[in-house]
Symmetry: C2
Subunit: 237 residues, 2 copies
């Protein structure tokens, strides 16, 4: 018997929000891939062969010729190959209008939120600690950190606005959109940079996503030299 | 009778590569949307209601409640709702592995190539001309232009490498990947910034895509004050 979960390998970084999104997604599908930590700033030759764009996450499943590269591409692939098995818990709606909205929000969080918030906070506060100085490591640029902390407030209000008119971010059921948004927020929350007090609706929505069993693994991530914020793993924060 | 093509409206900018991709795609589907030119730096309130991310393209089709936002989202929607009608000319493969590769390359060109090449050349050489100084307009920053011109050489080699082992970028048939890559190159080619002499395979592939009838409309785009490069609309360049 061929067991997909055993053969699958996920190249990831513990604080890469796109990797976190896929880890949560795979947990929702009941998959337990072999986890391979990748530090993209090391530009490892074998990894570049899998993904010349040198980004995480990358999934290999032992069946396909090439690797499955990038969070959105992996999410679409998993929905196409095992979405139906989730039944009513399927993470992509079946109607075209619902799919349009989920994909719009996937772009919003995985591209826009990343470019305006997650990228800067992680680069300055996490990755620069792991890099040698010749790789670009060093002290955080606090101007970039402050800009990201300013930007996140608008996104938090947008989340709050969406979930006040809907049950979940993209509609009546939980979808990839919720998991992607929560993955990014979890990376930032580890660093203590989410101003939860500013939007009650967003906070309640995050508490709902965070309490899912699929979230457990990322809440136990730890980073040498950085203490997570007190509310990071607290389900009743 | 309800005629989809007549009701559809495409919010676009003539030199936005993501808009160009969707214009070519819609022409492949035989659709003729009403074209609405959007200058995102004007931050028009009505457009922000359609797309709070304030990016082009946006498609409204008269059937859906909300707008269809973003090039990749529109491409997926059109494939889902009218892909089968194209028969053998369908722009997304039907097998999961083929779809993974098309989506990987869509990300490559619509995100990575855009961030490293198209964004800078268009911002500095096109959009800054259209903006008032209080909108960020002014003379181009030639350092950014030079960096983009340097970056494009690697992408051109990557295209050449792909089409030397395959018939089209993602495999045996023409797909969204070819149309997205060619859309970005067409914007840059208008400005004369594609070093075609450096990769014969890439040049021949582009000549094939460019000669499709779906490409005609974008080859006739003109911009006040900028003369297109001599080879821009030449099918035997």
């Amino acid at each position: 018997m061929f067991v997909w979960g055993v053969m699958a390998q996920l190249y990831y970084h513990p604080f890469c929000p796109h990797s976190r999104f896929i880890r949560i997604v795979m947990a929702e599908y009941g998959m337990e891939p072999e986890m391979i930590e990748e530090r993209i700033f090391e530009r490892r030759q074998e990894f570049l062969m899998l993904n010349p764009a040198n980004t995480t996450p990358v999934l290999t499943d032992g069946q396909m010729v090439s690797a499955i590269v990038g969070a959105n591409v992996i999410a679409e692939y998993l929905d196409e190959t095992r979405g139906l098995a989730l039944g009513a818990r399927r993470l992509m709606p079946e109607d075209p209008a619902g799919r349009v909205e989920v994909r719009r929000l996937l772009e919003w969080f995985n591209s826009k939120f990343f470019a305006e918030v997650t990228q800067w906070l992680l680069q300055e506060k996490v990755f620069k600690r792991q890099m040698r100085s010749d790789q670009g490591g060093g002290a955080p640029d606090m101007e970039l950190v402050r800009a990201a902390r300013q930007n996140i407030r608008y996104h938090l209000r947008y989340i709050g606005w969406l979930v006040q008119s809907r049950n979940w971010l993209a509609g009546d059921t939980m979808t990839y959109a919720d998991l992607a948004a929560a993955a990014h927020l979890s990376s930032v929350d580890f660093l203590g940079d989410v101003p939860w007090g500013e939007d009650e609706a967003a906070k309640h929505w995050y508490a709902r996503v965070k309490s899912r069993p699929s979230f457990r693994a990322i809440l136990s991530d730890r980073l040498p030299g950085i203490t997570p914020s007190p509310e990071y793993a607290d389900l009743d924060f």
